[in-house]
Symmetry: C2
Amino acid sequence: MEFKDLKETTISRKDVFEGKIMTVHVDQVRLPNGEIGEREVIDHVDGVGILAIDDEDRVLTVTQYRYVFGKTLLEIPAGKLDWNEDHRLGGLRELREETGAVPEKFEYLGSFIPAPGCYMENLHLYLATGLKFQEQDLDPDEWLDVDRIPFDEMVERCVNGEIEDGKTIIAVLRAKALLHR
Amino acid sequence: MEFKDLKETTISRKDVFEGKIMTVHVDQVRLPNGEIGEREVIDHVDGVGILAIDDEDRVLTVTQYRYVFGKTLLEIPAGKLDWNEDHRLGGLRELREETGAVPEKFEYLGSFIPAPGCYMENLHLYLATGLKFQEQDLDPDEWLDVDRIPFDEMVERCVNGEIEDGKTIIAVLRAKALLHR
């Protein structure tokens, strides 16, 4: 069965949690068939992730403890955008804060939606090359280990599932296709 | 600065929202430096997404309205796992429900973590081929349009950012690498 119009319209909104990094609300919506449904929504600021490749074709990675999953994950540098912050400037900021790197070239790799069902985040991706290095400048509640891993090894680990972080996989595999690697 | 142990341990947990598809809690945690921090956590069941390719090398896609983003997204068939459901069986179930397809081959493409910061979901991916077709069998609050798009066009659209859904991008680009396409 096909529906010409799949749109769901908001009837009412009930805020249920206001946190530091998210707001949760439950909305009553009008479904495509005219009935009433409920949608649980997490509002969250957008983010940016940076695939930074040094002059020896190595990717800058950060390993950090992900409390929600109870383990460390290997990821590309990334972070939440400040309110109304341009994602290009935010990306340059996060890259410098987490790794000290300042790129000569900073190319947009597009964005993606991590979890379209209930989690309102767009994640913007950049490819950073021509890196110069300054000091790290981490947030007070942020601890991470920076490493450098050959690009081809990163591709392999993104394909075989060893690297689990979505933004890292997408940035590496988009760059592989765009760089014809 | 490097920390040998990046682990954060739970001191206390406060449940703030119990919904139908998620539970939100705020935990006090011991940070690596001994100080106390706070983590906002969304518990959510795991999911499964299926890259199904028909005998004419076309990918089965579903277009559905994503209320959180206020627009339709083009995605691969996917869904939440039932409590304690095996992700292979869940994948076969979701594929059949959303598209009617029943595959001859069903290969695991690994999992990924959509949003490691605060959203507890693992998403498992499968590659389905050798498709036979039965009737669709949608959930009562689910509306979607099924389409078929050539694999190479899907790759192009996942790379250029036109396709925004994370699981779709990862499944397509992992399959591209594994199938040496």
